[in-house]
């Protein structure tokens, strides 16, 4: 019975897949919507010269604003799952007495400053070349994970007030800029930056987002891995 059901599901989805591929091959390009052309013609008003950054933080800035909220919600979900516990300094995974771990430690101490530098570069270069807040935040988060895995940075237990501020900092900057622009520059329009200062405002938002995205994405790992250590400590 179970095998029959499995075979039926596989056959059904094989048919679905072939149909999807057929549709993709048959589909004609839309003739009356030219979004990418619109992006390129409006690019001068966006304050940046890289089209993807222009879409992300200017033309569809509203999406990005809500996305940061989604990320915060996901982190809150993780925090709710790992439960409440008292603040204490969680011990690192590794004992750093073995000589080969010294090599790891040395390597991490060489690489992490470089990663922070790369994140800063990606943030700055996002205005005119591939790069931006998301990539920079991801690199920062990866640096955090690396520090945790090599035993330098302990896993996080309960977020203290400074960590909480860091987590929402990007969203706060984004909201403040949105509110300020709505009141001062273009009343009644959300995230309609004035073209003259758009580049500066986007860079400001991106700086906040880089910090917060880095902390949120690193937090996903650091809170979860801290949970396992805590679990062990209970016994």
């Amino acid at each position: 019975m179970k095998n029959l059901f499995n075979a039926l599901v596989i056959v059904l989805f094989a048919v679905l897949g072939l149909t999807l591929i057929w549709v993709i091959l048959e589909l004609q390009p839309p003739t009356h919507v030219h979004l990418s052309k619109q992006v390129l013609t409006q690019l001068d008003a966006s304050g940046v010269t890289h089209p993807v950054t222009a879409v992300l933080l200017n033309f569809r800035g509203y999406d990005t604003l809500l996305e940061v909220m989604v990320l915060l919600l996901a982190l809150l979900g993780v925090l709710a799952q790992i439960g409440k516990r008292e603040q204490r300094n969680l011990s690192a995974w590794f004992r750093l007495s073995q000589p080969y771990l010294q090599v790891l430690l040395w390597l991490v101490r060489m690489i992490v400053p470089l990663m922070v530098l790369v994140a800063g570069y990606l943030l700055w270069v996002g205005g005119h070349q591939p790069g931006g807040a998301f990539q920079a935040g991801a690199v920062l988060a990866a640096a955090g994970v690396l520090l945790n895995l090599s035993g330098v940075l302990p896993s996080w237990a309960e977020p203290a007030w400074n960590l909480r501020t860091g987590l929402v900092f990007g969203l706060l900057v984004f909201l403040l800029v949105a509110a300020a622009v709505m009141v001062v520059a273009s009343p009644g329009l959300l995230l309609q930056y004035p073209p003259a200062s758009a580049g500066m405002l986007i860079l400001l938002i991106e700086m906040g987002l880089t910090l917060s995205l880095g902390l949120i994405l690193a937090g996903l790992f650091l809170f979860l891995s801290g949970d396992a250590i805590e679990d062990e400590a209970e016994k």
């Binding site: 989805f13 993709i24 993807v52 979900g77 998301f134 979860l224």
Partner: protein, 98 residues
């Protein structure tokens, strides 16, 4: 057939792999893997179909960029839930239907 179109078709195949795995596999970690593969397939369809004429299209690219970041957050949340389930019940699979 342009290379964008090849990747769009691959995306459709990956979506089907992912959604089949999501239904058939009972191990929750595999379900998360299948969910991620499904998402990657959708991203490929979005970008591949958007630039089948050959010129890069920034709009689907920006959408997929946000999508990837949301996907990893969803994965983290799903893993937290799985670990909680494991902690309480010792089970890593969903119970069989009666």
């Amino acid at each position: 057939m342009s290379s964008a179109l090849i990747y769009a078709c691959t995306g459709a195949a990956l979506f089907v792999f992912g959604v089949t795995g999501l239904i058939l596999l009972s191990h929750l970690l595999r379900k998360i893997l299948a969910f991620n593969i499904m998402g990657s397939g959708i991203f490929l369809v979005l970008v591949g179909l958007g630039q089948r004429s050959g010129t890069p299209d920034p709009i689907p690219q920006a959408m997929v960029l946000t999508g990837i970041v949301v996907a990893v957050a969803a994965t983290g949340l799903a893993l937290a839930l799985v670990r909680r389930l494991l902690h309480f019940t010792g089970e890593i699979r969903l119970p069989e239907e009666p």
